[in-house]
């Protein structure tokens, strides 16, 4: 049996204080810290979602990418079955280190519950699901490097086995102010073919 072709409906890249949608710059700032860049992006989106400011940096990165991508989907309904398949290299290490620092001094031992809840990378999927009312499949994987081969196969299986109508895939890497997010929406229809070569090419843009 030949697998049906799948397509990349749209894609979003966030890096170096810049956000690109389908390869076009849609928002950028002067070089600044991620906390400032993410806040300015939030303001640019004219959102009213105070919980954003409670998120850790990895969640903010994934959340903003999803926001740009899902916002531009005119057919995106709150009821749809869009799975989330994300991955990165550093897991939640940035927040893990922050939390470790808060408990490393016995004389000044005040662990923060608000930091602790983000010491798992898949929390960012929860943030996206809450915002977009998704009750779909979601998975977060840790790889040594960007892994388009795995992401392509996994998302195609979800579509072929009818576990999802669409799949929002994402590479969201954040550690120590170094960040890159590449998110894309995989569908059964579209113009950009969904395969490893294209995923490699789009990631490098």
């Amino acid at each position: 049996m030949t697998a049906k072709k799948t397509y990349i409906q749209s894609f979003c890249t966030i890096q170096n204080n810049q956000i690109l949608m389908n390869g076009e710059v849609v928002f950028s700032t002067e070089p600044t810290a991620f906390s400032d860049f993410s806040k300015k992006t939030y303001q640019h989106l004219e959102m009213n979602y105070p919980k954003f400011f409670k998120m850790d940096n990895l969640s903010k990165l994934a959340f903003l990418g999803a926001e740009f991508l899902l916002k531009s989907e005119s057919n995106f309904s709150k009821e749809n079955n869009t799975a989330l398949v994300f991955a990165n290299k550093s897991s939640s290490l940035d927040t893990d280190v922050k939390y470790q620092n808060s408990i490393s001094d016995a004389e000044n031992y005040y662990p923060s519950p608000a930091v602790f809840v983000y010491t798992l990378p898949n929390i960012c999927l929860g943030e996206i699901s809450i915002k977009h009312q998704l009750k779909s499949e979601n998975s977060f994987f840790i790889f040594a490097d960007y892994n388009p081969e795995f992401m392509e196969k996994y998302s195609n299986i979800l579509l072929e086995t009818l576990k999802a109508d669409k799949v929002l895939c994402g590479w969201v890497e954040y550690y120590n102010e170094n960040y890159k997010a590449f998110l894309y929406l995989v569908d059964k229809e579209g113009e950009i073919e969904h395969n490893q070569e294209i995923l490699k090419k789009l990631y490098k843009q």
Partner: protein, 85 residues
């Protein structure tokens, strides 16, 4: 007591990352949870840590928090009576 209330408002905004809220937006008797400031259960835990860290108050029974964290007014009253630093 007035200074303590202002201090608490400032600390709550900072500790709980209430980016869109100013000190002037919080009234002394506003509900901190539910319909008021809309704080959640993780925020409640952060407030318990704040009491310990900044005022030396250890809440033995977390259920006490429901009464203590009702508003800035009740928090300030409890802290003024029980603080050790």
């Amino acid at each position: 007591m007035e200074a303590l209330k202002q201090e608490l408002k400032s600390k709550i905004i900072e500790v709980l990352n209430l980016e869109d809220i100013a000190i002037a937006d919080i009234n002394d008797d506003d509900a901190l949870f539910g319909d008021g400031l809309g704080l959640d259960s993780i925020d409640a835990l952060e407030l318990i840590v704040m009491l310990d860290k900044d005022y030396g108050i250890k809440l033995v029974d977390p259920k006490e928090g429901k009464t203590i964290f009702k508003s800035i007014e009740t928090m300030a009253g409890y802290i003024a009576e029980n603080r050790v630093k």
